[in-house]
């Protein structure tokens, strides 16, 4: 009666029934009459914990090591007793943060870290692969066995067959499609999967009933009750060793298995999914706290009897103990019972695969792929509207990949492991999440760096002590890797690391991974510090029952509510986004207008809504993109700091500019003062010129009037007056000539006959010309000392003469009344011709020394003293000498005479090499 088509039809009908239940569950959810809002359904859905491992594997385990299959169920019982404190806290945190997976939860706790979410996802996927492969192996084995009914033929090793002829391959494909239909059917695959949970709860009933049916039949149908079986076992002798556990190794194993199971019940991705993500009401946990352990107890009661029955029935071996649940009814010629067992096993496996792959797919899409895609700016993913479609595609592809990888693992490790051993490898991997989670919800000081280090370290040790050896056993790596350690290093033997020998590989790996994981997690957390967002998340997680979700939000606002609404619409669809905002309006009791500014409450609310769809890390990136630079994540803080430091540089530049400006202003002010001074001097000049011109004019006019009005003047008198008139006229014309001369020179219009001049001749000629200036009334001695080697200079000979005559006549005017003397010296001085004219006159006060080269400025008081000369001589000299490239100055002390000196550069043609540079420099 059990032909292939019959089995397949029954299995297909069963899966259709599941699908119908899921469909009905979703329908009810849409109507708002949730099918799963019930604590018993909740407890049954958590029983997805019992997979093929429980259904087939426990019996196999019991048949080889006795009661030590039990810690896997005692551990969760203990966790659930403490569930009100631990699990409910995780549920509350997840509800507030709208967590979608275990990766999301850990990432969220440690600063919504994208890297950490990705790391957890990778560990989860790699770690869970053996677990999925276990289910595939169980289904294909049970199917093959049933196909040969009534013979009991152990399936040949699948590794030898081409994969297209391998039952497990088709089972894998079918499971993947089934999981896709279940978990990613909706466009809003984002939120909870009520239909799926309903189906899972139903499956839990099916597998329990199936197992109990088989158990009752074996115990009371085949044998005469529990006592009968155990008596026969005891009678058989050897098997009674399974009644007890022995030695340190088994005790250690017992403890580590308990610990593994205590952690796994919370941190396995599918447990987190049904227990936390799919939780409707956290009060449901209360009933689950005893109902779920009760379920575990019931499904385990007949494990040992079935195992012993199998051992008694197949004393010669040859039948895999993992198949006793199926082969014992087959042996008893009970096809219907065998079919029930098969369906029970199928329900156990499908439930696990569906929830596990959906949970993994959510993690992969929300915490690995989406954040990566969102970070690739080129894709402009944040602006696309078909994101739900992309999300679903990622999830579907992930499910197929995960199941096929699971299949690859089955083929790889082949028959070398029992079901429970394969599953425990996954438990040990999932265990790596426990320190980060428990530390995360009870210890505020736990840092992201610590979590990353702990997870990475633990995961690497897991790979080394469990995954690699399983490859070695299957022949991928040399067997000597296990027996002698890598490269023969005995200390590194993967099953006896650093000499920790004599333990079960799982216990051994658990000890080492936890040592490394917890050590790094705590150690690194203690020596690193938290970022702002990490800190606020830490406080929110640890103090979840004391604080509202919005505390510690680092945020400053500029975007509008409309921006956030649009974002939600893009990911969740119009209807659900508007509903979400309507709820918020209801809570706040006022309308939210699109133009309105967002506050931190709206931002975190939107982010949580979005997190339900795409995970916390992605949601954070998306909301940040809308708020534009308003979320302070570390990158951004760094960016802000960059900007600030640029500002500092800019302000430094400004400061420098303003300093330069100040300097320019000072110069300008000085120039202005100088200009005002010049202006004043021009006024003075005009006044002085008028004064200077009027003096001779006045005397000319006076004497002219005297001559006109007194025709009877004596000829002597007349002669005298006319002489005065002539002298004054001469003085006047000299004055006017000087003024014109200076004006021309200053305007640059006077004519210059520049030529190479031999100064000695010019000086001597000038001295001769000056001789006429010496008054007859005074005796003035004039001496000259002119060097013979005077160089030629580039000058206008007449002008040079004018300079010397001016200086000498000046000296004559001011030299002492008695015994006056004048000395002229001329010599060559480092590229210059230097001429000094010294007198022994009154000298010039220091404050007058610079002034006397200005026009009409004479030493002494011009108003009281009679002016001596025009006051233009020295300015003219200076103007001429500047034209020649030289300069003039005076050295004097009042009462001790004065020395006027000038120098003129030597002509280039006659200059020696040394002198030439000086000329060039001064030019």
């Amino acid at each position: 009666m059990l032909s292939g088509p019959v089995i397949i039809t029954v299995a297909f009908l069963y899966l259709c029934l599941l699908f119908a239940i899921a469909y009905y569950g979703d329908k009810r959810a849409d109507q708002g009459r949730s099918l799963i809002a019930n604590p018993s359904i909740y407890a049954l859905s958590i029983a997805v914990y019992c997979t093929s491992w429980t259904f087939y594997g426990s019996v196999g385990r019991a048949a080889s090591t006795g009661v030590d299959f039990l810690p896997i169920y005692l551990g969760p019982t203990l966790t659930f007793i403490a569930g009100w404190f631990v699990i409910r806290k995780i549920i509350r945190i997840s509800k507030v943060n709208r967590t979608t997976s275990i990766a999301d939860f850990i990432a969220s706790r440690y600063g919504k870290s994208f890297q950490l979410g990705g790391l957890v996802t990778v560990i989860a996927v790699v770690g869970i692969l053996p677990y999925i492969s276990l289910q595939l192996k169980a289904i294909s084995t049970s199917f093959s066995l049933l196909l040969h009914y009534p013979d009991i033929v152990m399936p040949t090793s699948s590794a030898s067959a081409f994969f297209l002829q391998d039952t497990a391959f088709y089972v894998a494909l079918f499971m993947a499609v089934f999981a896709i239909l279940f978990g990613t059917r909706h466009i809003d695959a984002s939120e909870r999967h009520e239909g799926m949970v309903a189906a899972i709860a139903f499956e839990s009933v099916v597998k329990l009933v199936a197992f109990l049916t088989v158990g009752l039949f074996v115990t009371f149908g085949v044998y005469g009750g529990l006592g009968d079986i155990f008596a026969r076992v005891e009678a058989s002798g050897a098997l009674s060793r399974l009644f007890t556990i022995d030695g340190v190794a088994q005790h250690t194993s017992w403890i580590t298995l308990t610990l593994l199971a205590m952690g796994a019940i919370v941190v396995l991705p599918r447990q987190f999914q049904v227990m936390v993500v799919e939780n409707v009401d956290e009060r449901h946990l209360k009933k689950a706290m005893w109902l779920f352990p009760l379920y575990l107890l019931l499904i385990n009661i007949f494990v040992l009897p079935i195992a012993f029955a199998g051992l008694l029935m197949f004393p010669q071996g040859g039948v895999d103990a993992d198949t006793f649940v199926l082969t014992v009814p087959m042996k008893q010629q009970q096809p219907l019972l065998a079919l029930i067992a098969f369906i029970g096993g199928l329900s156990a496996a499908t439930g696990m695969i569906i929830v596990e792959t959906v949970a993994l797919a959510t993690m992969v899409s929300n915490d690995l792929v989406m954040p990566l895609l969102l970070r690739v700016g080129r894709l402009h993913l944040s602006e696309r509207r078909d994101l739900p479609g992309i999300l679903l595609t990622i999830r579907r592809v992930t499910i197929i990949l995960v199941v096929l990888l699971g299949y690859a693992y089955v083929r790889l490790i082949g028959e070398s492991y029992a079901l429970v051993t394969i599953g425990l490898v996954s438990f040990a991997a999932a265990m790596q999440f426990v320190p980060a989670i428990i530390g995360g919800i009870y210890w505020k000081g736990a840092t992201k760096a610590g979590a990353v280090a702990g997870l990475t370290g633990g995961f690497l040790v897991w790979i080394y002590t469990l995954l690699l050896p399983s490859f070695a056993r299957s022949g991928w790596i040399a067997q000597s890797f296990i027996e002698n350690g890598p490269l023969g290093l005995a200390a590194l033997k993967p099953y006896a690391l650093f000499g920790l020998a004599g333990l079960d590989p799982i216990a051994h790996a658990t000890i080492w991974t936890m040592l490394v994981n917890v050590g790094l997690f705590v150690g690194i957390s203690l020596v690193t510090s938290q970022s702002i967002i990490e800190r606020s998340q830490a406080v929110q997680f640890v103090d979840i029952f004391k604080r509202s979700a919005d505390h510690g939000r680092v945020w400053r606002g500029r975007a509008t509510i409309g921006d956030l609404r649009q974002l939600l619409v893009r990911f969740m669809g119009e209807a659900r986004a508007n509903a979400a905002f309507a709820r918020l309006e209801g809570v706040r009791g006022r309308r939210l207008y699109d133009q309105g500014p967002v506050d931190s409450e709206i931002v975190s609310y939107s982010e949580r809504q979005l997190a339900g769809a795409i995970g916390a890390a992605s949601a954070r990136i998306m909301v940040a993109s809308v708020l534009r630079e308003e979320m302070h994540d570390i990158d951004e803080v760094v960016q802000i700091l960059d900007e600030a430091s640029q500002l500092v540089v800019y302000s430094r530049q400004l400061e420098q500019k303003s300093r330069e400006l100040e300097a320019v202003t000072t110069d300008l002010r000085a120039a202005n003062e100088r200009l005002q001074e010049l202006d004043r001097m021009k006024d003075d000049f005009v006044a002085t010129v008028s004064h200077e011109v009027r003096t001779p004019l006045t005397s000319i006019r006076s004497f002219g009037e005297i001559l006109r009005d007194n025709p009877d003047l004596s000829p002597d008198e007349r002669q005298e007056f006319i002489t005065i008139i002539v002298q004054e006229s001469e003085r006047l014309s000299r004055l006017i000539n000087d003024i014109l001369d200076l004006a021309k020179m200053e305007a640059g219009t006077s004519e210059w006959h520049m030529a190479d001049v031999a100064p000695k001749a010019v000086i001597e000629q000038a001295l001769a010309a000056s001789a006429g200036l010496f008054p007859k009334t005074r005796h003035i001695a004039i001496t000259s000392k002119i060097a013979d080697d005077l160089p030629a200079i580039r000058a206008d000979a007449d002008r040079l003469t004018q300079v010397i005559v001016n200086l000498v006549s000046n000296a004559v005017k001011f030299c002492a009344e008695q015994d006056g003397w004048i000395r002229l010296e001329a010599w060559r001085e480092a590229g210059f011709l230097r001429v000094d004219v010294t007198d022994n006159g009154l000298g010039i006060a220091r404050h007058d020394q610079a002034k006397i080269f200005e026009r009409f400025q004479q030493a002494g008081n011009t108003l009281t003293d009679k002016p001596q000369g025009t006051g233009l001589g020295l300015p003219i000299c200076r103007e001429i000498l500047r034209r020649f490239g030289g300069d003039i100055w005076v050295e004097s002390e009042p009462g001790k005479g004065a020395t006027f000196s000038f120098r003129v550069p030597v002509a280039a043609s006659s200059a020696e090499t040394g002198a030439a540079t000086v000329v060039a420099a001064s030019a």
Binding site: I81, F243, T244, I245, I255, K286, W290, V539
Partner: protein, 92 residues
């Protein structure tokens, strides 16, 4: 007032009791190759302890007043359990 936190205390006590009873070294006491009522001693012991724990948890949770007790403890009486956590917060 005293009864308010009883449920929590009972749960914690049951958890510790479970850990104590279901792991070595106490397990060794019942680790004997004999049978009681026809059932191996260790096997019987484990299932009896397990069943008793479940029954006690069920009784603790489902008895009258436990719901209010558990529910209130974290919404209206944060002061009681929060004091050590607050201390930790100021340390952190």
């Amino acid at each position: 007032m005293q009864a308010q936190s009883r449920t929590r205390e009972l749960l914690i006590a049951l958890f510790l009791l479970g850990v104590l009873l279901l792991t070595p070294p106490l397990l060794i006491v019942f680790n004997q190759a004999t049978r009681v009522f026809g059932v191996p001693t260790l096997y019987l012991y484990l299932f009896v302890v397990w069943a008793a724990l479940i029954a006690l948890v069920a009784f603790t949770i489902e008895r009258r007043g436990a719901a209010e007790d558990l529910g209130e403890a974290d919404t209206e009486a944060p002061g009681r359990e929060s004091s050590p956590i607050t201390g930790a917060a100021s340390d952190a």
